[in-house]
Symmetry: C2
């Protein structure tokens, strides 16, 4: 199973494609989509949508997993989260891919066995789990890979139960 | 000047295309984009994005005006507003159209001279201003036409000042 994980943001959107085969996880691709910072919001959103569509076409995931922040600090930042999340959802739906969302706590729990772990711990564990040997410099890309792993774990735990 | 007005929502999105020529306003088109209600959110967002792109291609507005709710009731509804608004912004940017946003109070003020007017008053005044003779049944479409009128008023007031 190949899963695209997305860590949504309107300035920086982490994407990570993870393959799971017989329990072994590998990173097929990871990147941070970053529209030019001075562009107005509508242009940044269009940039992200187009870049997500390119990523889906190039890497052909079968499912999409999105990290969904549990609580925004305020209404303004909630609207902004909505903007970024909507681009990931619409790009997935355009390509007929099912979408799953996970809270940050679930994502952290999935990769570090602890819902309250730090960004650095997530980054370190994702690199270890995927054999990336310290080459994972961006925490946005690490979060995207982590939410893909989280979905793979949830799916595999689920199919094990239904056997 | 031809302006596309949008009243964003993830279940019902009002769209209205208004022409302004030598001070005369006419409605070229208005509609409510309504994805199938039972579809999951990503599919509804994709439907809305595609329908907005179709509307822009068919009616060729030169600017897009979006009603931006001032205050969401809570974080959940703010994220939802963000989802719908992002579709309108991304569709406009895809077609190279500049985007303007207005608060509900500004929109009401523009069509009824009173920022606190009711939905029915807005609907009635929009029909009157555009000569629609009571055929404007949807308040979502009326709000979309109203935000287009609001932008036309703001633009024309502005160009009068700079003469």
């Amino acid at each position: 199973m190949r899963v695209l994980g997305v860590d949504p943001g309107t300035y920086r959107m982490g994407v990570g494609v993870v393959d799971s085969e017989r329990g072994a996880l590998t990173a097929a691709h990871y990147d941070v989509l970053a529209p030019p910072r001075r562009e107005p919001l509508p242009n940044r959103l269009h940039y992200l949508y187009a870049a997500l569509c390119d990523t889906i076409r190039e890497w052909a995931p079968v499912e999409v997993s999105i990290e969904q922040p549990f609580a925004a600090r305020n209404v303004r930042s909630a609207i902004s989260i909505g903007h970024a999340e909507a681009m990931a959802m619409a790009a997935a739906a355009k390509h007929g891919l099912p979408v799953y969302t996970y809270a940050p706590r679930q994502v952290k729990q999935a990769v570090t066995d602890h819902g309250g772990s730090s960004k650095e711990q997530v980054q370190g564990m994702v690199a270890l789990l995927l054999g990336l040997h310290g080459s994972l410099e961006s925490s946005d890309a690490a979060d995207a890979l982590a939410v893909a792993i989280c979905h793979i774990n949830a799916t595999e735990a689920n199919s094990a139960m239904t056997l």
